[in-house]
Symmetry: D2
Subunit: 174 residues, 4 copies
């Protein structure tokens, strides 16, 4: 079971669409997966209670548990201000350290409506995940101008599809 | 007027203590300053409403306005998981782009209870702030094991004090 | 006098062409500049003698002196393997620390034949230059697929020209 | 066979001493290894010939071949100006892309005589190696003030020894 983390709580995000596409592509390879949608975060999760695990709500504990149980995960990361979304980092800040991620494996995907495709965002996230003990797949596809290359939940750009499939092939044997 | 941003909403943080110390040191140089404490963020600021400025609460708009009005700012940045706090980034994600930070100047200070002193955190934040158009002072003091080097709101380690004062001297002429 | 560092010793590089274009654009604004071409490095500069300034050749000392005398500088940085060229970093490793760069100001330009335009390269270089005490202009234009957007020493893409001119305007008042 | 790359060509480096210590520790676990010492680089390797593989000297080709044949590698990385040595990057710039590193695995070790222990250096190198397709072990021990914690080729600080041994244990099963 691979956990796919849709890395923003923005409503109607392309990020969630890419997470679903990732799930489909895994399914065609016979690989089960599960999507963790950051929209399911409680609206007050990033309040001061974030720093006291004994104050965590049941909803937040449920999301943490899903990360704790996963052995492989995929982060779909939209670029916000040249890095990952603050919300994604706040979620990671609320995970159990180091149990949540240590000795696990993960893959990163970058998205942007601009020209970068999130490559600095993925560099930053790699630093964070390495610190947390998660091994990151070297191959990190980036999808700039994502809004122009997706329709009805599918990539319209064949190169984008190929890059995603190549990553999946690598992830399955990582 | 320099705006000092205390970069976490964690209650009773050393970060806020360092922000207050920074303010004192500015004051002894005759420089007025103001502290923006991320504890004043509304508890639901990082919810989906973050992505719609028309949904911002009065409290959040007030904090944004203080950033908008500042021309120079200081970020006091505790290290969380080898980067800046997610909450700080979420706050930046909610600022007006690019008006909030463009062509302004800033200084960064890193803190940690571990051995790094936030140097990767400051590197990440520099990427974000540069993207937002804010010029970052080259000198970025780092304070590892901060909890061992502070007492009653003052640094007990003379080197720490010197590094902070050197930064302030540079910031005033930046 | 602004020093423009052409950041590779590769023969016939587009990097040097961009350095020359930068010089032209400065000239039209009445700003004198000088190009430091890393092709002028002695062929053995990165040998063990790099670590003993008393062994530096006259040629190398001459290049160092030009950096020492400059107060503002521009780095034209081609992307090699997702970072700056090793040769550029070896040159910086051979500068006098911290006198060579401290309290100076600089601007960075990124180039690539691929899709990134050197943004991670510029992030890395910013870390290095900040460490050396050089203030880096927030605005760092990137030019992906540079070989497709340049002809006879001029940009054929108007956006590229605009980005470069905007940086120059900022640099002149930085 | 694990290839240990001693990441500088500086004579009498602590880096090479750490490489030898790494080899010893591997040996006590029954793991064969080989040290690639960047001091063996031809003195003119970073000259313009770096960009034309048909001009490579026999010595340089020999070093490239050793990388090409390795499946797992360790990079011992001294911190130079807040990043990896330019010479190490120039060596990587001269490897065959992407055959040299793709789908291989590696571990990074950071050293410094200052307080950082090379953590930004390792972050930069991770970006480069990921781009080249090499999977990087999450655990990256850092050894600040290395000159104070080593004697006769051994760590005198038990924590340093423990961190290195923990990495080796992880690397052997990576």
């Amino acid at each position: 079971m691979i956990l796919i983390i849709s890395g923003t709580n923005r409503p109607n995000s392309i990020t969630l669409k890419v997470a679903k596409l990732y799930q489909q592509l895994l399914e065609t390879r016979g690989q089960a997966s599960d999507i963790l949608d950051l929209q399911d975060l409680p609206i007050d999760f990033a309040s001061p209670s974030l720093y006291k695990s004994e104050l965590y709500s049941q909803e937040f504990l449920e999301l943490r548990k899903r990360v704790a149980e996963a052995q492989k995960m995929v982060f779909i990361v939209p670029e916000y201000n040249c890095s990952y979304p603050g919300v994604l980092k706040a979620f990671i800040d609320g995970l159990e350290y180091p149990e949540a991620l240590r000795r696990k494996k993960g893959a990163l995907v970058g998205l942007s409506t601009g020209s970068q495709g999130g490559n600095i965002a993925l560099s930053h996230l790699t630093d964070v995940l390495h610190y947390c003990g998660l091994h990151v797949l070297a191959q990190k596809p980036r999808f700039p101008y994502i809004h122009k290359h997706m329709q009805e939940g599918q990539f319209t750009n064949p190169l984008y599809k190929q890059l995603l499939e190549e990553q999946i092939d690598e992830l399955l044997v990582f």
